[in-house]
């Protein structure tokens, strides 16, 4: 770890030399660095990291240490389509792109629309709207910050800024594509900020993809603020290669009667940790937090959900589901905190997992901390296999073992994808789930039954076209 920390010190010195950043970052960098020196990278002895340590992923004990690099300026502009081969294209969104840590644009770092909506680089936004940005930027509780958040504060480069003024319904969803395309060992730290004004509505699709990458480490902060009666649908898609380490720290603040819906979908990854902290700060706010993860081989997905009911009359609902194959691992930690005065809270949580092999390592940790007495709270967690009776029933109709498994897995995963409200995205997701399950998650060799059509699978799900 010492070599790693040394690298961080060097990168920090490098970053404070750079003046292209407009955020009053020097102070933040210094604070972050000081905190990082104190806390360091979280390690396996810490309660929240016990199930899977990140320090030994960043610095592999059995391998020579190769330092991380930070790309200190944006890549030269290239037509987007040459780089971004994102799966989730043409879904009727307007997209904005980040490459190797920087907002990518052609002489237009901020898109300022007629209705007052602003989308673009956080650095540019601060330069142009310092008051607006600094009012919301980095409003994190210092008490709760860990070494990774400190690291981001010390070394962040750029991020997306989205501002929806009061009383604006953004009709076309906004899509952020964060991409890594490098043959270097990059460290990338975005700090994004999203503000949805009073009575306003936004759908946001956020993709983390990789093209070429060599052991990159991505450590993001996303702050979301919903003003009174605002609505945000946040769809997070993760499809990363096996070498990558991705940590997302998402913080949501909700004002009165606001509604936040998130859907975190992870198809492939090396290591992903989605940490989501939602503060229901004013009465009537509502959070719906969904997640789906499909992992295999040696992939690891960690979802840390933390919902804090500060005040009465708020609702929250968590539904996370996942399938782990081979030696893959998955953890779900769901924390519901209900403050003493937060009466009439309704808070629910469900985590369902399917382990396809004995080696797949799944952990689920519900944690309810309730200090109010008039609340409705429930949680349910399961780790199981595919339903034997359902398998049998499907097979008695002529469906082979492999397709029977696929139908059941698809049904299991589909429940979460169906909560996506953007129709084209939902269709694309279902298609991706189908391909993910048939391409990767099933191991033909394990099919002991004599499947008549191993090569030529006729398993065909096309519900959209089948609707009469």
């Amino acid at each position: 770890m010492e070599r790693f920390n040394q690298t961080i010190e060097e990168l920090y010195r490098e970053m404070i030399q750079i003046d292209s950043l407009q955020i009053p970052c020097r102070e933040l960098r210094d604070q972050g660095m000081a905190l990082f020196r104190e806390k360091g990278i979280p390690h396996g002895k810490m309660e929240k990291w016990r199930h899977k340590a990140i320090d030994t992923l960043l610095v592999k004990p059995d391998q020579p240490f190769k330092p991380y690099l930070i790309q200190t300026e944006p890549s030269p502009y290239q037509p987007i389509d040459q780089v971004f081969k994102c799966e989730i294209k043409n879904i009727g969104t307007i997209s904005y792109h980040l490459l190797n840590g920087w907002y990518i644009h052609q002489n237009k770092p901020l898109d300022i629309r007629d209705n007052g909506v602003i989308v673009g680089s956080i650095n540019a936004a601060y330069q142009q709207f310092p008051e607006l940005v600094s009012h919301y930027f980095n409003q994190l509780d210092p008490e709760k910050q860990d070494g990774l958040i400190a690291l981001n504060q010390a070394l962040f480069t750029d991020g997306i800024f989205i501002y929806v003024p009061d009383n604006v319904v953004v009709e076309t969803p906004i899509q952020i594509v964060s991409l890594v395309d490098t043959l270097q060992k990059l460290m990338i730290q975005h700090h994004h900020l999203v503000i949805v004004g009073k009575n306003s509505q936004l759908s946001l699709v956020h993709c983390n993809d990789s093209v070429h990458e060599e052991n990159s480490f991505i450590n993001n902060i996303l702050e979301i603020n919903l003003e009174a009666n605002a609505q945000l649908h946040y769809y997070k898609m993760e499809n990363k290669d096996a070498q990558s380490i991705l940590v997302n720290n998402t913080f949501v603040n909700q004002a009165a009667d606001s509604r936040f819906t998130s859907n975190m979908i992870t198809f492939n990854c090396g290591y992903v940790r989605n940490s989501l902290e939602v503060h229901l700060k004013e009465e009537g706010s509502d959070a719906n937090l969904y997640g789906l993860y499909l992992v295999d081989r040696k992939q690891y997905i960690d979802n840390q959900v933390n919902v804090i009911h500060h005040v009465p009359h708020c609702t929250s609902n968590q539904i996370y589901k996942g399938i782990a194959d081979d030696e893959a691992g998955a953890n779900f930690s769901g924390h519901i905190y209900v403050a003493k005065d937060a009466q009439q809270t309704a808070a629910y949580q469900i985590n369902r997992n399917i382990a396809l092999t004995d080696e797949a390592k799944i952990t689920t940790r519900p944690f309810l901390e309730i200090y109010a007495d008039d609340v409705k709270c429930s949680h349910g967690a399961t780790i199981g296999q595919l339903d034997e009776n359902a398998m049998f029933y499907l097979r008695t109709r002529g469906i082979c073992l492999r397709n029977a498994r696929m139908l059941l897995m698809f049904a299991f995963a589909n429940e979460i994808a169906n909560l996506v409200l953007i129709e084209k995205l939902r269709e694309r997701l279902n298609d991706m789930i189908k391909r993910r399950l048939s391409g990767e998650l099933t191991i033909c060799d394990q099919c002991m039954m004599n499947c008549a059509d191993k090569e030529n699978l006729i398993y065909d799900i096309d519900t959209t076209r089948l609707r009469s």
Binding site: R395, G398, L407, E415, I458
Partner: protein
């Protein structure tokens, strides 16, 4: 078509079927009757290929093949259909997807092209009429939240889509009102032809007013203790299962 010889089946070491003999030829409809717990469903499950049952003795051949050499799905592809007493609920799998996958796999096994979406939809519409299934039902998840009657109708619907050669219906009539009963019977009768056969397992004689069997067998204590023409069902209804019971016990005594 189906030949069961001296079939002994046990579960967790407890013997349930104790030497069942039964032969079903093409074109025939057989009824199997018997009190609860005598092993009727066990027999259907063993034919379907349920793995928790141990076959300790005897044989089942179907179309001159040893049925135990066929996987569960291959039995279906060879034309066996079981209408289950307790159909399984499968949340998230739509009946449409389910049936399309099943039908196309069966077709592939038989060397036929898969049905295109339009053809398949037409087939579904046609078959839905047979069981008077509401159109919405076919878009719902398999059996999820279905009433008892809907589940049974759904079994017959699946049978109509898959067009089996040998249909085994396990208490498809239980819990049905007269209208539903007629629908179910109608579904079975439509399938009836000189090439196909059916085994109707039932507790009551009622269903046999609509599906007239060629033979009636009474399964008791894991064995077929009496076989006869359709009138046997009437006799059983009149005299009740106690009649079988006392006759059986008597024969046991004489046997000793």
């Amino acid at each position: 078509m189906l030949k069961i010889q001296n079939l002994h089946v046990s579960i967790h070491g407890k013997e349930i079927l104790k030497g069942v003999n039964l032969e079903v030829k093409r074109g025939e409809v057989h009824a199997i009757m018997g009190p609860n717990g005598t092993g009727k469903s066990t027999l259907a499950s063993v034919i379907a290929g349920k793995e928790i049952f141990d076959v300790t003795e005897g044989s089942i051949t179907y179309k001159d093949k040893n049925i135990f050499d066929l996987s569960i799905e291959d039995r279906a592809r060879e034309g066996i259909f079981i209408g289950f007493q307790y159909p399984v609920e499968i949340p998230g799998v739509s009946i449409t997807n389910f049936m399309r996958t099943a039908l196309n796999e069966i077709r592939a096994y038989r060397g036929l092209e898969p049905l295109g979406a339009a053809q398949f939809l037409r087939l579904m519409e046609e078959k839905k009429k047979i069981v008077e299934l509401q159109s919405k039902l076919s878009e719902r998840s398999v059996n999820e939240g279905f009433s008892g009657g809907e589940k049974k109708k759904n079994e017959i619907f699946q049978m109509a889509v898959l067009e089996p050669e040998l249909a085994i219906l396990d208490e498809t009539d239980s819990g049905l009102d007269i209208d539903a009963l007629r629908v179910v019977a109608n579904g079975v009768n439509q399938l009836r032809n000189p090439e196909n056969a059916a085994i109707v397992i039932t507790h009551y004689q009622r269903l046999l007013d609509y599906i007239i069997p060629d033979f009636v067998h009474i399964l008791f204590d894991g064995k077929i203790v009496k076989s006869g023409p359709k009138e046997l069902a009437m006799e059983l209804e009149e005299k009740g299962y106690d009649w079988i019971k006392s006759e059986y016990e008597q024969s046991k005594l004489i046997g000793k």
